[in-house]
């Protein structure tokens, strides 16, 4: 029994409560408290990841009640991998200056940083929970904080947040219904226990219905096409630092839960061979790639372009999950990491541009490369990675996805993945060209200059991170992802 799994969600939770209390008197100190909390969580996540890479999963029985009676927190390499991403991006998001990141400096009593900590508590809880109902509670913890945080972005954001609240609640309701089906069939809620009990009842239609309900419910959380309709408005209108958190890690918690429950609990034999769930994930993912990319090309608002490109990138992850072979699953997991790094970087850049120039429309960004060379070079690296060209991280995950599609004999999917890279290139190359070779046309850009180090720092770190991931991908795949993918798909 190890305390590390339970510390992961508890540290941000305590930091969140402290940040709210401190924020009542010293609003500026709330950010420092949140930063400390997230740094602590990142430390725990890295320690735990180092321990589980070569060893057995870390388990924690809450209150000393052994599972399946008690609630169990399990931290295996997959959880550790996700937890490290979440805590890392979370740390950068709370470090990002409030004026650029939230659009305002929180006044006393406005618990923006407390809510961000609560959001990260929920996300970290989802990845370490070993209990189906407990996962629902963490899903709702992060969802409620998301609704409140999105609403910070003004009138449009409040309306977007309300629509997201309706859809998100319907999604978690369907998940809960599916969990009820499982509980009344097997009599257990512990994931490992249910996985052991399911084969005896696997041919019952109740279990098929449960798998369908849970996948649809989590599909809403993950914003997989066609359940993505809440995402573009919410991510466009949320403040930049919040949008970075949402696109980089919040939707990935849904993707993690789909992987964990479909392959870890139901098993690939049921989900991929007997039921068409994996097949549908693949095709809806592919449709999401195309729709998201085409919609992104049509946008003129920078953040809206990024939001639609998130829909497309989540499609890649859906395809990787649905193909249900180890190489494609490695591609999906690696894409979770890569997309987290590049999309949070891009939203941080959008926040930096807006805070310096008050510009958010793409046509007005012409010539920005001369005014902010450092910030825009970070943008260039992230954009190249979004397109999927070496030497950036985005190339590796798409490479694995294409290999996985070919290995599964799915040529149309491979063609879609490669073809949509061209679509992505259309909108990002157009942006790069306008920013670096265009002339300054907007009067607001005349005396624009580079943002401060607190904005440049995270952007540069993430841009360098993309190059480092490209170089380190063999290690990441061999040490963490390949064993994870093999273990999840072992029954196949």
């Amino acid at each position: 029994m190890s305390a590390l799994p339970v510390l992961l969600p508890v540290i941000p939770l305590i930091a969140g409560v402290l940040a709210v209390l401190v924020g009542l008197y010293r609003p500026a100190a709330a950010q420092a408290v949140a930063t400390l909390g997230m740094a602590g969580a990142l430390g725990v996540a890295l320690t735990a990841l180092a321990q589980v890479i070569d060893g057995a999963p870390l388990r924690h029985e809450v209150g000393g009640w052994p599972p399946p009676i008690g609630i169990e927190y399990v931290l295996d390499p997959l959880s550790g991998f996700l937890a490290t991403i979440i805590a890392g991006i979370g740390l950068l998001a709370v470090l990002y200056p409030a004026k650029a990141g939230l659009g305002f400096v929180p006044k006393a009593g406005l618990p923006a940083y407390g809510l961000m900590c609560l959001l990260l508590t929920g996300l970290l809880g989802v990845v370490v929970s070993g209990d189906l109902f407990h996962l629902f509670v963490f899903l709702e913890i992060y969802a409620i904080s998301t609704y409140a945080l999105v609403a910070l972005g003004g009138d449009r954001a409040i309306f977007a947040s309300f629509r997201y609240l309706l859809l998100g609640t319907a999604g978690s309701g369907l998940y809960l219904l599916g969990v009820g089906f499982i509980y009344f069939t097997t009599g257990s809620l512990n994931m490992a226990d249910v996985a052991g009990l399911l084969p005896a009842v696997a041919d019952s239609p109740t279990i098929a219905a449960a798998a369908a309900l849970i996948t649809v419910g989590l599909g809403v959380k993950m914003a997989l096409f066609p359940l993505h309709v809440w995402l573009p408005d919410a991510h466009t209108n949320a403040p930049p630092a919040i949008a970075a958190l949402l696109a980089a890690v919040q939707v990935k918690a849904g993707a993690y839960a789909i992987i964990r429950i479909n392959y870890g609990v139901f098993g690939p034999g049921l989900v991929a061979d007997e039921l068409p769930i994996a097949e549908l994930l693949t095709w809806f993912g592919a449709a999401g790639i195309l729709v998201g990319s085409v919609m992104a090309i049509l946008q003129t608002d920078f953040k809206r372009l990024l939001a639609y490109s998130t829909v497309a990138q989540l499609g890649y992850i859906g395809v990787g999950i649905g193909l249900a072979n180890p190489i494609a699953l490695i591609g999906a997991l690696l894409h979770i990491l890569n997309h987290a790094v590049m999309k949070s970087g891009l939203f941080f850049i959008a926040g930096g541009i807006y805070s310096q120039t008050k510009i958010k429309e793409i046509p007005r960004m012409s010539g920005l490369g001369r005014k902010m060379p450092l910030l825009m070079s970070g943008f260039a690296i992230a954009a190249v990675s979004m397109v999927g060209l070496p030497p950036t991280a985005g190339f590796i995950s798409k490479f694995y996805l294409v290999l996985g599609a070919i290995e599964g004999g799915r040529w149309p999917i491979a063609v879609i993945i490669v073809g949509s890279s061209l679509l992505t290139a259309v909108y990002f190359v157009r942006l790069i060209e306008r920013i670096f070779t265009g002339k300054v046309t907007d009067p607001k850009l005349e005396d624009a200059h580079e943002p401060g180090p607190r904005i440049l720092g995270p952007v540069m770190l993430l841009a360098v991170g993309l190059l480092v991931i490209f170089l380190a991908n063999v290690w990441i795949v061999d040490a963490i992802l390949a064993p994870v993918a093999d273990a999840l798909l072992a029954g196949r």
Binding site: G103, F104, P106, K107, L110, F133, F136, V137, E140, A143, I144, Y147, A148, A151, L152, G153, G154, D155, R156, I158, F159, S161, F162, L165, L166, T169, A170, G173, L176, L177, G180, Y183, F184, L189, P239, Y354, K358, I359, K360, E361, R364, D442, P443, K444
Partner: protein, 151 residues
């Protein structure tokens, strides 16, 4: 077959309530009615769990000398606990939803979805009304208005 339906008629109610809830959430044009639909939808799920734990001839799960320690004599308490938790979560969500509705009404003076959409997509300033509770949003909307004024 008929017996099956008579035995499980509560599940039919659950299904009906789920459908009414989904219809309210996605077909109603009024935002407050959508929230009511969401509440009906989640309540139907609570009902499903409570009905699932019903056991004929069993008693409340508090050990009594008359029943002894045989688990078959007691109702499974876990679904009740789960639903207590889910109700608390649901109250939080309805609370956030109502708070958002209040802000939408303050900004637009209506809860009709198409009117709100029209105001938001129309003139950028149409949707903005100064309000004492509007502090955080004002800070951003001032910035946005600034950006749009130069467009």
């Amino acid at each position: 077959m008929v017996e099956l339906f008579v035995d499980r008629y509560v599940y039919l109610f659950v299904l009906v309530l789920l459908s009414i809830g989904l219809y309210g959430m996605f077909a109603m044009r009024n935002l407050a009615k959508k929230l009511v639909g969401m509440t009906i939808f989640t309540t139907a799920i609570y009902l499903f769990f409570i009905e699932g734990s019903v056991k004929d001839g069993a008693t409340a799960p508090i050990i009594s000398p008359a029943v002894g320690v045989d688990a078959a004599g007691y109702v499974d308490p876990l679904p009740h606990l789960l639903i207590l938790t889910a109700i608390v979560v649901g109250v939080g969500i309805v609370g956030v939803g109502l708070a958002l509705l209040v802000r939408i009404y303050q900004a637009h003076g209506t809860l009709e979805e198409n009117e709100v959409v029209a105001r938001l997509s129309g003139s950028p300033r149409a949707g903005r009304r100064g309000h004492p509770l509007d502090e955080p949003a004002q800070a951003t909307s001032a910035g946005e208005a600034d950006g749009e004024a130069g467009a």
